[in-house]
Amino acid sequence: MTSAETPAGRGPRFWGALYVGSIAIIAVLRITDAIPTPVGLILFVGAMGLLIPFVRSSERRSAANGCMNPVIVRYNRRILAASMGYVFGLGIALALWNTYELSGALAFAIALLPTLPTFAMIWAMGRYLVEETDEYLRYRMVRAALMSLGMVLAIGIFWGFLETFELVPHIWAWWVLPVWAIGLGLAQLWMKVRGE
């Protein structure tokens, strides 16, 4: 019996929805101070584990539909590993920052803990574009990336001027990557809805 005949477990939509729902609940609990920061981080790391069945179920479905793309598989696994590294790096960095009075080179070093995995994510995206031999899929990814970049620039400039005129609070510059990633997802959804 093959996995295509009997898809083992639940589909990517289930795992994706479970992950998003978990993150939303943890975020609400943290924002309302119902849980302290360390508990929030531990729960967040646990929720990240849901991405593993999400990626695996996506791969199973692609294999069952006969459209398994090894480049996408590599990309997903690299992004997953980098995401795990990011969460662990951020957790360790925050724990060290809150426990010790770090400054100078040590503060620089802990800043690198969550930063380096995000560089790995950017590298994975770049590698995908280099390794993807299907020009249509590459075109779609480049298009989504540019749409997302446009969104980041627009939000960044608008927020920056709102901040200049003291209408909104200051935010840290690392927001660009998560917002870009969200934009990438929204752009892909937009293209799917439009049948592109």
Binding site: C67, D134, G195, E196
Partner: protein
């Protein structure tokens, strides 16, 4: 740009997946080209033409609305 990919594929009784495998691209690519949502690059257009044993202009034609 218009193309006769769907007709040529149907004449050979190939599915989109069959054609995609012969061209070495994804099924999504074949679907996007057939439905006119994506115009292939010149190298891919030549590969398609070679596969069907036809000149490019026998498969792809300029849209009437294009100048």
């Amino acid at each position: 740009m218009n193309n006769r990919l769907k007709v040529l594929r149907a004449e050979r009784n190939w599915s989109q997946q069959d054609l995609a495998e012969r061209l070495g691209v994804s099924r999504q690519s074949v679907n996007a080209i057939e439905t006119g949502r994506y115009d292939p690059s010149l190298p891919l257009a030549f590969t398609i033409a070679d596969l069907f044993g036809l000149p490019i202009e026998a498969i792809f034609s300029r849209d009437q609305t294009e100048s």
